[in-house]
């Protein structure tokens, strides 16, 4: 299979993918700086002295002046904003957030579907291929839902924020057309990839199929990074001057300081989110089936989904940290507004959500250990992991920069709680989050080991090494956090968090490497797919709900951190909604969009199942006519 002549198509598609990404680069705004001066102004290059009659090039002058005069961003007054009787921001909020939920889903699913399909190809096990196919099937409607929401969002934006949209159109120019054009490609590859699944199953055709999947992912990824540039431009504009006139080319406009951090963060987060959503499908089907074979199938599907979600979730805090660091570097004011000012409490809510995600993910792994008899040896560790998770979660949830009134300060005995205060700052929280990730990985590793017995001779040494790595890494993280966090100056404190992250990564990478090597030709113990308590499936519902709500919360941050600006420092927001709403209001909005998303996803899954059912023809018993 590897040497078939059509296998060349695969790397060729890789080149095509690079081409797609390259398309976005050279799209230029009106940049008059090319070509020789003489060529450019030949028709109009004449000297005119005062007193001489004006030249006939009047209209051309006007045209040229029009096209090169750099226009500042518009400054609409409150009455310039259309009012349709309902809060404009609320409408855009709902549509935009739903669009992002579905966009994330339909970008993520093809990514892990392609990988699962490849796994199926390399292991020769067709069940992987069938599962990949099923994942595509259940998310297919999601693509049109994304498009419906996107189209509605665009219309509503043009209706309710015409001046802002006119400005954005001007700034991004032809990039909008590239974005629109990509949907043609994405649709083509989506339909051929999905509907051609069974037609292109084996041999050379399989490579064609994989190429189609790769191109689907490439077009989706390009679509996402183009759209991300609009959001990051609004937060940290680049390529424009102080009053918003475009002075750079489209590449400079797109490649602001926040673009790549957002690209990375959303790329990883999408995968985690997509895994969580399809996991809910698997959990639902598991609970609804009584057939043991079906239950086994959906149990496996749920496990795979959880695996994808948690695996993608582990590096996410680091991508988020990079994003926040870039925000602080761009504008300390914006950074502090987010984490030390009015939005600070929001990150406590984030801690609650992430705690939910990790607890649910871990709980599912522990419950899944009942699938294998070999898991008995590891069960004793579970309560310690649970203890660590709870303690670290509580530390992470501890607030620090409280906005207190004078009476509250005197009650508290200071601006911070004298015991809990020290736990609320970053060094303690960095210890907490790194430990949470390490013990989550431990749950993972124990689960993966529970159906195997190592047969290599060096297994005891390998285990000793693994134990040492865990113990020393945890001790190192605590040492780094406590010593540099509380006893040295700020610069060392901040720098120590990088060393903590490195320690966590050492655990994860060495764990993967050691296990891969150590369990070569391992003795496999029987595992029983389907043998898992029903209550564990609820963890697979908790995951997507928490993820969805978290995404909504982060959308509230992204928008609010711009305070009263449409485009930060460049175009002021003069609409009636130009204030940062309270967190309870945001909570209500986020819940509304979460519930709407839930209903749309239910519809999506239902339609997928519907297409597979066929009504039985009723027996003709005098029921004719």
């Amino acid at each position: 299979m590897m040497h078939s002549k059509f296998a060349k198509l695969f790397p060729m598609s890789l080149l095509l993918m690079l081409l797609f990404l390259g398309i976005t680069a050279p799209v230029q705004a009106t940049d008059p700086g090319t070509g020789s001066v003489a060529d450019r102004i030949a028709p109009v290059g004449q000297v005119q002295l005062t007193g001489e009659p004006p030249l006939e090039t009047e209209s051309e002058v006007a045209a040229v002046e029009e096209s090169v005069e750099p226009r500042a961003a518009p400054t609409p007054s409150r009455s310039d904003y259309p009012d349709i009787g309902v809060s404009s921001r609320a409408i855009v909020w709902v549509l935009a957030q739903l669009h992002l939920f579905f966009g994330a889903l339909v970008l993520a699913v093809p990514l892990f579907v392609l990988i699962i399909e490849l796994v199926g190809l390399f292991t020769g096990d067709e069940r992987y291929d069938d599962m990949a196919h099923e994942f595509m099937k259940i998310s297919l409607t999601g693509f049109s839902i994304t498009a419906i929401l996107g189209g509605s969002l665009a219309l509503v934006l043009f209706l309710l924020y015409p001046d802002f949209m006119a400005y954005m159109m001007r700034v991004f120019g032809a990039q909008w057309l590239v974005y629109a054009g990509l949907f043609f490609f994405e649709s083509f590859f989506l339909y051929t990839y999905y509907y051609g699944w069974n037609a292109f199953r084996y041999g050379n055709r399989k490579w064609v199929h994989l190429s189609l999947g790769l191109m689907l992912n490439a077009s989706g990824l390009t679509i996402m990074v183009l759209a991300n540039s609009w959001a990051t431009f609004m937060m940290a504009p680049s390529g424009v001057n102080e009053v918003g006139a475009v002075v750079g080319n489209i590449w400079e406009v797109m490649k602001g300081p926040l673009w790549n951090p957002i690209n990375l963060h959303r790329f990883i987060a999408n995968i985690a989110f997509g895994g969580a959503v399809v996991g809910a499908y698997a959990a639902f089907k598991f609970l609804s089936s009584s057939d043991p074979e079906k239950r086994a199938h959906y149990d496996w599907m749920g496990y795979t989904s959880n695996f994808i979600a948690i695996l993608a979730f582990l590096p996410l805090p680091f991508a988020g940290y990079w994003l926040m660091a870039e925000i602080y570097a761009y504008s300390q004011q914006m950074g502090i507004t987010a984490m030390g000012g009015i939005l600070a409490w929001l990150f406590i809510v984030q801690a609650v959500l992430i705690g939910t995600i990790l607890l649910a993910g871990n709980f599912y792994l522990w419950a899944g250990m009942s699938r294998t008899d070999g898991s008995e040896r590891y069960k004793w560790l579970v309560k310690f992991i649970a203890l660590v998770l709870v303690v670290t979660f509580l530390i992470w949830v501890t607030p620090h920069s409280l906005i207190l009134s004078a009476s509250e300060i005197s009650q508290l005995g200071g601006s911070h709680h004298h015991i809990l205060g020290p736990l609320g700052i970053m060094p303690a929280k960095n210890i907490a989050v790194n430990l949470m990730l390490i013990v989550t990985f431990l749950s993972f590793q124990l689960y993966r080991r529970s159906d195997k017995v190592a047969t290599v001779r060096w297994a005891p040494a390998g285990n000793a090494l693994m134990v040492a790595i865990y113990v020393v890494a945890i001790a190192n993280i605590i040492f780094l956090g406590v010593y540099y966090g509380y006893f040295t100056n700020t610069v060392y404190k901040v720098g120590s968090s990088v060393a903590q992250v490195a320690s966590t990564l050492v655990v994860i990478i060495s764990g993967i490497v050691i296990d891969t090597l150590m369990f070569r030709n391992a003795k496999i113990l029987p595992s029983h797919w389907g043998r898992i308590p029903d209550r564990a499936q609820y963890a697979l519902f908790a995951l997507p709900i928490a993820f969805t709500w978290l995404m909504g919360l982060m959308g509230y941050v992204r928008s609010s951190v711009k305070t009263h600006w449409h485009v930060y420092t460049v175009m002021k927001d003069n609409s009636p909604d130009n204030f940062i709403p309270t967190i309870a209001y945001a909570g209500n909005m986020i819940t509304i969009v979460t519930v709407l998303f839930l209903l749309c996803v239910l519809f999506m899954f239902w339609v997928a199942n519907l297409s597979g059912t066929r009504q039985v023809k009723p027996a003709a018993e005098g029921g004719a006519a």
Partner: protein, 276 residues
């Protein structure tokens, strides 16, 4: 069906738990700055100082960073005697700025924060040469010179020191209030430096300042050597009077009505210095 109800119920229940968390937290609304009418005829120094304090705490967003230790990311200027402190700073051998007194130092700190960075408060890795403080008369804070005077007055008055800034006059106010009606301070205030003026009028969109490269218009790196200040002034006010051969008549002809006299003067002086 039962499964659907149970799972849906669980999902909705969990969602409501998260919503409940947001209800329990302190609620704060982040209002945008609102236009305030100030009657200059009856403005007393006490009013002016109070205005400064209000600006410090609200529109100026100063308290975001200037907080008492250990929270603050900038020196606690509300807690310190600023006049005494300014004197110390001006006397510091690291001080390279142009201020001569407390009011001047405070104003300079707002307009050009990196001119002098208080030790240990600089951006990480810049060795206290770069300040993380934004420029106050630019977006997003964009205080007018009157507002900055008010803050200066507040910072002097709060510790009982003499206020050395003058109350705003009607002329200065007229300039600021000539901004388009209905907007907040959305029209850019008169530029305070040549650089600002050139950014405001987008000169760089057509002219390269540091080379002879022709963009839409000629490069201006040596314009001071080629033209007299009077000729430079004419090129700005009446671009079509004398044009360089080979360039399109594209320069806007309405700078005369748009620029303030001060802005024009700053630009002309700046360009006259550019001798390549």
């Amino acid at each position: 069906m039962k499964v659907l109800f149970k799972t849906l119920g669980f999902s909705l229940g969990l969602t409501l738990v998260f919503t409940l968390v947001t209800y329990l937290l302190p609620q704060m609304k982040g209002e945008a700055p609102v236009e305030k009418q100030v009657d200059l005829g009856s403005l007393t120094m006490d009013d002016f100082v109070a205005l400064g304090e209000d600006l410090f705490n609200n529109k100026g967003t100063c308290t975001l960073c200037h907080k008492p230790p250990p929270l603050g990311r900038a020196p606690d200027i509300q807690g310190e005697n600023m006049v005494a402190l300014s004197a110390k700073r001006l006397a510091d051998e690291r001080y390279q700025g142009e201020a001569k007194d407390a009011a001047g130092y405070i104003m300079e700190s707002m307009l050009d924060p990196s001119r002098y960075v208080v030790a240990t408060w600089g951006k990480k890795g810049s060795n206290d040469s770069e300040s993380p403080m934004p420029v106050i008369d630019k977006a997003p804070i964009q205080l007018s010179s009157m507002e900055m005077d008010a803050i200066t007055a507040y910072l002097q008055a709060k510790d009982g020191n003499e206020v050395t800034v003058a109350l705003p006059t009607a002329e200065a106010a007229a300039e600021v209030s000539a901004a388009p009606a209905g907007g907040s301070a959305s029209a850019p205030a008169p530029a305070a430096t040549a650089d600002e003026a050139m950014a405001k009028y987008a000169c760089l969109s057509c002219h390269a300042m540091d080379s002879k490269d022709a963009l839409v218009g000629p490069g201006l790196v040596d314009v001071g050597g080629r033209l007299t200040p009077e000729e430079i002034r004419q090129s700005i006010l009446d671009p079509n009077a004398v044009m360089v051969e080979g360039f399109p008549p594209a320069m806007p002809a309405d700078f005369g009505t748009k620029m303030t006299v001060n802005e024009l003067q700053m630009i002309v002086s700046f360009l006259a210095e550019k001798k390549g």
